[in-house]
Symmetry: C2
Subunit: 142 residues, 2 copies
């Protein structure tokens, strides 16, 4: 548990006390070498599989929302039935594989700056996100 201090700091900065449930959540979210996308249900399953401790749904939701508010996680709206979350909080875009229901990151560098030639009076742009839906390329013809 070498990284525990970082998690404690993250929790404290989010206004949360470092309890063992929350530290476990941090381990799963921020210990991975790679960032990843998840649903709450998947996150709970990961925690259950790799930990001996029990974490209630309410705690997971509360902690995830605190991290979103603080910018340690991002929420990605894809469909109405369920939220997707992202441990990659850098500015980036996504492919969404509609057949496999899977998100794939597109680095900001891999998309030319999106130039919107229209403004709304009294409003400013806070963020711009691109979602490219992808499907199997069944080029069986020819």
């Amino acid at each position: 548990m070498a990284y525990a201090d970082q998690y404690i700091e993250k929790l404290r900065k989010s206004g949360l006390r470092p309890t063992k449930q929350r530290i476990k959540i941090c381990e799963v979210l921020f210990d991975a070498e790679k960032t990843f996308h998840f649903t709450i249900k998947e996150l709970v399953k990961i925690i259950e599989n790799q930990a001996n401790i029990k974490v209630s749904l309410a705690t997971v939701y509360n902690t995830v929302h605190a991290f979103i508010k603080k910018g340690y996680l991002k929420e990605i709206p894809l469909n109405a039935s369920q939220s997707y979350y992202d441990t990659n909080v850098s500015h980036h875009h996504h492919f969404f594989d509609v057949e496999e229901n899977r998100l794939i990151d597109i680095h900001q560098d891999d998309v030319d700056e999106v130039n919107i030639k229209r403004t709304i009076p009294g409003k400013k742009i806070r963020s711009v996100e691109v979602i490219a839906k992808i499907v199997s390329d069944n080029q069986s013809q020819k």
Copy 2:
């Protein structure tokens, strides 16, 4: 009810019989001079306000989904709690006013073609959508 024939045709092409409930739904959706965005709840309210007939939630959901499948409506994912729908089925993008929870169309012409310099083997892009979140521009300084 001059446009009824068009609605009947739209329904038939969607594989639906033209019942009076469905024609009423079409009137609300496709009679407007302008396209608009709506939630199911809002659509039901509009129907209730302007019609003498009763339409059940199940019928509204089923009809909306049939139209989406046929391409007469588009679904716009914005948050996990509720789906937004769009009667503008042309290729376009959106501002989303996060304070007022309101969608605003951005014509395709108002956004330079989004150039994604990355591909996924075996997959092809079906659609590309841009969502720009906007907030109040409180330029009280200076």
